[in-house]
Symmetry: C2
Subunit: 166 residues, 2 copies
Amino acid sequence: MENTPTALTPTQLQAYFAFTEVGSLLRHAVEKQLRDAGGLSYVQFQLLARLGDAPDGQLRMTDLADGVVYSRSGLTYQAQLLEQRGLVTRSPSPDDERSIVVALTSGGRDVLATVFPGHIDAVHSLLFAGISSKDVDDLARILAQTAAHLRAAPPRSAAPRSRKKA
Amino acid sequence: MENTPTALTPTQLQAYFAFTEVGSLLRHAVEKQLRDAGGLSYVQFQLLARLGDAPDGQLRMTDLADGVVYSRSGLTYQAQLLEQRGLVTRSPSPDDERSIVVALTSGGRDVLATVFPGHIDAVHSLLFAGISSKDVDDLARILAQTAAHLRAAPPRSAAPRSRKKA
DNA sequence: TATTGTTATACTCTATAACTATA
DNA sequence: TATAGTTATAGAGTATAACAATA
């Protein structure tokens, strides 16, 4: 603790402020687009998108939650909403009877498809329209590195719920 | 609308995902630190920090809200909480009797001072510890540019509440 | 005993609309 | 009429803890 710096450089401050400002505006705009286009909250979109990327369009609850939601009950709540709208199904896993498998329905895929173009447009116009492709490269590289760093070194006292029993 | 791209390049996708991942983890960690260290929500911290930066430690409600909160009532709510804790005062403006001036109290400055070191540490360790100082420079430059772009071109249909009557 | 998921509950936060008062 | 701010209210979301069932 003694050797962590107690100040940020002016450049770091600038980067931090710009990061939060861009993040806030982007998040707000994207949430509006998702709500208007598909009646989805950001979290719901993330869950559907995650299922869309999964091999068979399905994941266990626990795996689905990972990184999107920070409490089990929060996922149950959102999964219920998605199920009520017919965008996903929940069924017991044959492998492990404790588990629930969440699967994207065709209706879920439809909503995802409806929402995607506007989502992409928003991200493009807000995040990328103002910078060169070289800058996009740099941004991708730097942020990917930062993300990797974060995954490797979880915030102290974060009490990871169940980390690979390592 | 016809000339907006309907897809992002792989690099753009990578940058976008990394951006949201870093933003989410950073936000979550910072919120926890602020809550633990000073009992502040992120919004409350932003409001206090904004007042701390203001010339006399005071701002009108409307100016204070700008960029932090997206509804007037949301600010009233938060300002009430801060006032109840004695961190700010609210008093009618002498200039314009419609306005309320929000001022940071010494107690408010204390809380800010209490919370700041841990906040800086968190930002440093999460956002900057993993990348070179050259990368910090690039990040600052690129994101500042993006932020400027966003301010200049507000998202269509954003219905800016009252924009400089231009 | 550890893990998966749900439920009950309480709380925080946000937004909309109606309202008051001043410019 | 437009602006500054408040209030009432309703809704969405989240977290904690207690719980049941399976491994």
